[in-house]
């Protein structure tokens, strides 16, 4: 699918995505009780291998929270953390819930091993963050956006992303990738949010935003 978007149209899309990413950061912040800084989102039309590079390369190990997007907008959303940052975020979230002193804050000896409580907290963090993004986007659409339940995957970034990319590149050689990084000041937790709409619903989104024909 070839979709030509004017510069003005691109600015409209970028503005909306920026706002939605900011909402996502705020949601993560209020869940964790921390001030979360949201990096200015990067919005690119790029190839599958570019998306893998944006995620740190296919072999970098990540904890990913995946949410499928259905309804008026179709696509995929992923919130990625490095394994160590995911442990730190889980500790912050659980300390907020359980009170201080309940959880050891030191690094786990096996950084790829998470207990059920941690996984549940991270899954919810991903869910809340991605839902906040979609809610903001949904205010521009006529029909609701329906996210799937979240899934946590601890894997090589390439393996997590390729299933998603395969769904996208079937219809188009290029995908629209929106990416931002959340940083929690004191403890430097970097989370990366990817939102990857399908080619056929990209037009729906652009039309809803008034980005086509301007």
């Amino acid at each position: 699918m070839t979709l030509t978007i004017s510069e003005a149209g691109q600015n409209v899309v970028a503005g909306t995505f920026r706002k939605a990413m900011k909402r996502a950061g705020e949601a993560l912040g209020s869940m964790s009780g921390q001030v979360i800084e949201v990096e200015t989102p990067m919005l690119r039309r790029c190839s599958a291998s570019d998306v893998l590079a944006m995620a740190g390369g296919p072999e970098s190990i990540v904890l990913a929270v995946y949410v499928g997007i259905n309804g008026s907008l179709q696509g995929h959303a992923l919130l990625l953390f490095s394994p160590a940052d995911a442990h730190r975020l889980a500790a912050i979230l659980l300390t907020g819930l359980l009170g201080p002193g309940e959880l050891p804050m030191e690094e786990s000896p096996d950084v790829l091993s998470y207990d059920e409580l941690e996984l549940s907290a991270l899954q919810e963090a991903g869910n809340v963050t991605i839902s906040a993004f979609l809610n903001e986007l949904g205010t521009h659409l006529h029909e609701p956006v329906m996210p799937t339940p979240p899934q946590v995957i601890i894997e090589m970034a390439g393996a997590v992303l390729d299933a998603v990319l395969l769904d996208l590149v079937n219809d188009a050689d290029q995908v629209l990738a929106a990416k931002t990084t959340f940083t929690e000041g004191g403890r430097a937790i970097d989370g990366t949010l990817f939102v990857l709409p399908r080619a056929d619903s990209l037009r729906v989104l652009l039309e809803a935003l008034g980005a086509i024909g301007i």
């Binding site: 893998l52 499928g68 894997e155 390729d162 299933a163 590149v169 050689d173």
Partner: protein, 161 residues
Amino acid sequence: MTLTESPSLLVAGIGEMVLSSGSDSHLVAYGLGSCIALAVWDPRTRVGGLAHFMLPSGPANDGSPVKFIDSGLDVFLKATEAKGAMLSRSVFKAAGAAAMLTVGGGLAIGKRNAEAMAAALAERGYSLTATALGGNAGRTVQLEVSDGRFLIKSLSSVSEL
């Protein structure tokens, strides 16, 4: 998690292929999820090729020669022959085609990739001698051009085909 650091490490990115006749070459595809990697190796000439396919079929396209199995397999096999492999005596091994996502229907592309690869090879009179396909773990694969060993590494294990 790189299996072997070497100047002769050739990487097949997503939708790409690499070929070599160099005895010190290692052909690698990183982080396969639902994608499928096909390794071809001729034990006589010690020529190897590794292709990182994405999907069973699709419209002929741009710069990714082996994006689709239907249009890309012949491109890959011809390139391997041109490099010096005789396909009739070569070994074919495949890995990947996992199901990474369980939500949203799971995007059962991995399974379709595995089936399409077996069928496309059979049509041409070839078959896979060893596979590490399916499951729900990501894989990094490496073909050793010197001896045809096919190394499979996941987060929890390393194996050899």
